[in-house]
Point group: C2
Chain length 499, copies 2
Amino acid sequence: MPQIKIGDYLFKRLHELGIGSVFGVPGDYELALLDLVTDNDLQWKGNPNELIASYAADGYARVKGAAAFVTTFGPGELSAYCGMAGHYCEFVPVVHIVGYPTVAAQRSQAIMHHSLGDGRFDMYENMAKHITAATTVITNPPTAAAEIDRVLNTMMRNQNADRDVPTGAVRHQVLSEVNELIQLTSFPTFATAMGKSGVNEELPNFGGIYGGAGTYPGVKKAIESSDAVLWIGNFPSDFNTGEFTTAVKEEITIDFQRFSVKITWNPFPVETFSDSDELKQDFLWPAILVTAYMTRKALGPFFRAGDVVIGETGTSAFGLCDSKLPKGVMMFNQTVYGSIGYATGSIVGVGQAIQESGGKWKRPILVTGEGSMHLTVQAIADMLRWDLKPIIFVLNNGGYTVERLIHGKEASYNEVAIYDYSALAKAFGPAYPAKYHGPVKTCGDLTKLLKDPEFGDAGCFELVELVLGQLDAPGSVIKTGAAIDEFNKAKAQKTVPGG
Amino acid sequence: MPQIKIGDYLFKRLHELGIGSVFGVPGDYELALLDLVTDNDLQWKGNPNELIASYAADGYARVKGAAAFVTTFGPGELSAYCGMAGHYCEFVPVVHIVGYPTVAAQRSQAIMHHSLGDGRFDMYENMAKHITAATTVITNPPTAAAEIDRVLNTMMRNQNADRDVPTGAVRHQVLSEVNELIQLTSFPTFATAMGKSGVNEELPNFGGIYGGAGTYPGVKKAIESSDAVLWIGNFPSDFNTGEFTTAVKEEITIDFQRFSVKITWNPFPVETFSDSDELKQDFLWPAILVTAYMTRKALGPFFRAGDVVIGETGTSAFGLCDSKLPKGVMMFNQTVYGSIGYATGSIVGVGQAIQESGGKWKRPILVTGEGSMHLTVQAIADMLRWDLKPIIFVLNNGGYTVERLIHGKEASYNEVAIYDYSALAKAFGPAYPAKYHGPVKTCGDLTKLLKDPEFGDAGCFELVELVLGQLDAPGSVIKTGAAIDEFNKAKAQKTVPGG
């Protein structure tokens, strides 16, 4: 029987999934395994820490379809759990490969480094089971290949749920939210065949099932004459659209997909700002994003086909989502799990995936707040040394702005360190070219930057520092924050006897 | 009955444990709780990420006796798991306080942010149970105080195991290592009363129990006339020492304690280096540490009473442990769990604890490799903004040196980013004074620095960049690395059928 090393088998399988690079941090339990990465036509893309490796893998998988990262037993794997829970929660197919102590060491309950010193070796896998679709510990060579296949198959099937199970929004476990939305808004509600049974059809505002030309005439007329349609997990397959006869105009739809929201109208009023005004988010987002505004100012939109844009959880994601995007732009954020620091790590994987996309994708663009960036700021070193040429917008607004809006507007716990953003590229990669733009403090500063033809095309790392007020945010965020503050105040009144 | 808020009760209890500062990262699930930190005479010391918060709490607890940090549900707590496993493994009493969604939200299985989007809320606690001494989720106000007391009592009892249970090395679960050492070395072995039954008394080299003046004459003579004695978990209590009549000379002992190894002889040969020689670890450690060498060079030792020194896992810990320390120096590392990046986060807590020690402790000193520092480098921002005045030695040796010695001497996976260490303080805290010393490339450079009377007394953040060869390490590390490499090579030959 032909023989193959377990590591070679694993990496060949990853290669077959379209993976071209492996992220991670080396450790002595898996150093020999790492030699096999390049043996199997994969690039090793090591990161400064495991959390960043897990985020980079996430970004890579969202662009390339799958990703892998390697860490060591114990500290390595535990440091990546936050990233792994995000993969699981948001259906991003990432395999985490962990180098373990030998079977002999485990059976003898030796006190190995990176264990808890108590002779146990199964506790980390037991923890990981809560935040993964599948796990295995390879201890038996004859079943190793089958185990690897089982886990990788589960990973791919789990993320591809919407491609082989006909339930759209249903499979993505947002049904309770959808039904709440329907009840709260009383909007007329329709479903497609794939979503049949997903929404409560006993509600007075349930209108029926829509399937293009084949639809019951009354339902068809109601939908096709609407001023606006919210698509939730829309899945325009042949059977789901009456063989592609859907006649809902794209410009009136908001398309909620698993990893993105596509909005095709302009919610922003065209505000009137003067060049000397302090920069505000209500100016920022239209200035960067909205074509109508751009036309007025004789600027093109900053984003263009081939861009992959990540908006960090916080005002960045809110601001970016309420936008009209040019065709061919990919944009995502980590909606449900919402771990800040994610975006700065994830853009590393996006940049690497862009390099491997054969020209399909072009610019990695990160939009983040400074407090979020601080969690994983050393990812900048990887962006520089791998020549990923990201364009980074940092909203420097004096701390955790969303938290301030929710509670503690002036509280010290919402402060963060004050960096010199112009010094970051020099500190993290002095050998590589980089451009700093800023500090952008006024509307006029931003307009001038957006007019600079080299901005966004410098062919190297570019970082824009946008200076904003501590409590400045899109109006929707300010309102949501106030509601949560009220909710928390009620909670904080809970008392306990004694003391 | 008098009433007290649950948060006030918790923070009053922490204050009673001697805790003066609380570390962490704010999140909207616990913002209202954070208001109560300062209400209860505790300082809030927020960190750039949760891993750093957990490490800072660890360092603080090792100096002050206990520590606390606060994070949010999901991403916040999972990001700290690596630090928590280190607390548990190394018996460091740290409480991790997590802000959870409301009981109502949990009961309704709502899709809350930071959950996994599947209506579950108990998975994170189930994970944490594997790496903690005790957990509780406070959902019922009438039992909240009792639950808080139960968890805090367990935390303090767990760390104080050696103070109320008479088994020294036994309680610290290193018995299998001790017995292996005894068998491998065939050293004559004795125990104290507290360690009775801990070692295999059937071994031919077991000699008896030693208890000072009260000891059986033959045993007493054998120990007291030895050239060197290894104390493992030595616990010099009254009953354990024949009422303090132990007559083993301190200068011939190596004292293995839970968090430190105290060696009281000088293992370094006095090497002859010239000023123009490239800096080497065999020169470095005696130059910084060893009094005999210092005397020869007319220098005092760099360390002095009041210093708290952390050696990062790797060559730093090995180099520091083989040393003779002046009296009144505290030194530790994370021996068993061995998570790199730990030391750079932990020194933040040490620095804070020093500020609260009323002059008992003076200088926080960090010795780390650059690859390790990169994991948690943004902790520098906290050192600067809180004016902790650390002295940092960075061994810049072109990657993961211990890993290189084990496997992959030239492998790309053992490379790390190349920083400009002179730019770090400017990037992370431009408003604060800081000194950069280096790059120190030769033995003469180091001697000159050590002779500078301001070095180590500048009254601000000081960072020394020590440039060392990629494969340079203390001789003991080089030998251990080669042995592990052999071991891994055998493991890598395992093959799997198929392919």
